[in-house]
Amino acid sequence: MWSFFHRLASPKHFYAFAGRLIPWLGWITLLLMLAGLYTGLFVAPTDYQQGESYRIIFVHVPAAWMSMFVYMVMAISGGIGLVWKMKMADIVAASAAPIGAAFTFLALVTGSLWGKPMWGTWWIWDARLTSELILLFLYLGFIALGSAIEDKRTAANACAVLALVGLVNIPIIHYSVEWWNTLHQGSTVTRFDRPAMATSMLIPLLIMFLAYKIYFFLVLFMRTRAEILDRERNTGWVKQLVTEAS
């Protein structure tokens, strides 16, 4: 078991391992997405309060959950790269950032699209949306720092420190935004919080969540493979791989 993980730490083995896994992940994502869309759009009943517009949660809420999850993955693998000087962890952290930013952006836009019929305006300083916006800033700062530093190893370590600082800050930011929001909006309940959700609505949500998660690993592996090739371009195994493939 341990030797398996040790081998994954080497870019060469990770490249091969991820290459074998990618088709499987791709098919699973496709199947789950189709299942989630089918149950979400056809099976789940109409909401008695929000009508059909609530169906946006099936693409919105999983994106919001993933935006937090990806930040955790990014910060933790960055921390591993920082402490144990593991090249693969650095690559994973750098590859996760754009995916996380995309999820965050998706959560923001779909949240706004959901808010328009519910609140009557495109944007409201709702706690969840505001947190998501700040999270997007954190992602963009991470990406900007990574691209500003030329040396890859320095960039990875600097980004890891930033991500860890952000990880400590996220709960604080989240709490303060929630607190600020309850002060300013008083009794208006945020529409995203649904105390008890019917099972027929929960199932498609969970399927979509799973689909997003597998999709994340699919894209993460694809990005890491490209990144590995780029960083290891002067090694023998990449040369062999490229020339044999042609």
Partner: protein, 226 residues
């Protein structure tokens, strides 16, 4: 050992203060910026006392945030350029303590004048007198957090030629909790309500920043100087 560490702390603190006092404009410029930004708001929004009163806590705090941002670079930049920073990392003393000395010097030079100046600006913005102690208290608790968290950002970008805008991208989102609680405390105090909760939260943030940020800054410096 602890004595020599303390001595090193004092030496760095005194050195940074001397250097800062020698170039007075560097202290004065962020303050001037602070005043100008604040005086823009009545011109841009409305000179109506009622409007200014509601805007005041937020405006003062946002201006303080931006003024601190502008002065952050001076914590490590010149020491990075003349190599003093490298010497500091090579010294046998714990880097995080030395970092703390530098951050303290930065706060004494930029944060304290800001606090002293703020009642005047409160008057300009029609802040009610009841809110003045809250303004001072939040600035006293909040500006050290700004310096401490900002130091991490400077340490990460000090090796870059154009780190200025990047620095604000990295640091401003992290300032949000301080901004929320501080400006809310001032507004609440202005309405004559209890603000102990907000102040406790700011104090907790300060304690957290004080314990964690020197380590992060030291780690970031080591990465930037490699």
């Amino acid at each position: 050992m602890t004595n020599s560490l303390l001595a090193a702390f004092v030496v760095i603190l005194r050195r940074d203060l001397t250097l800062a006092l020698r170039t007075r404009s560097e202290i004065a410029n962020p303050l001037l910026f602070f005043v100008i930004v604040i005086s823009l708001f009545p011109l841009a929004v409305s000179p109506e006392p009622k409007v200014l009163q509601t805007l005041a806590p937020g405006v003062i705090w946002v201006a303080a945030l931006l003024a601190t941002m502008l002065s952050l670079d001076s914590i490590f930049r010149s020491d990075f350029e003349d190599g003093a920073l490298e010497q500091m990392l090579l010294s046998p003393h714990s880097t995080s303590i030395l970092v703390l000395a530098k951050v303290l010097a930065h706060w004494l030079v930029t944060g304290v004048p800001l606090i002293l100046l703020s009642p005047l600006l409160g008057v300009l913005l029609n802040l009610p007198t009841e809110a003045m102690p809250a303004l001072l208290a939040t600035l006293a608790l909040g500006t050290p957090v700004l310096s401490l968290v900002g130091a991490i950002g400077v340490a990460l970008t000090v090796g870059l030629r154009r780190g200025g805008v990047l620095l604000s991208l990295l640091v401003l989102p992290l300032y949000i909790p301080v901004l929320i609680f501080a400006s809310n405390a001032i507004a609440t105090a202005g309405a004559g309500l209890e603000i102990r909760g907000q102040l406790y939260f700011l104090a907790a943030l300060l304690a957290l920043a004080l314990t964690l940020s020197p380590f992060a800054t030291a780690a970031a410096l080591r990465i930037s100087l490699r």
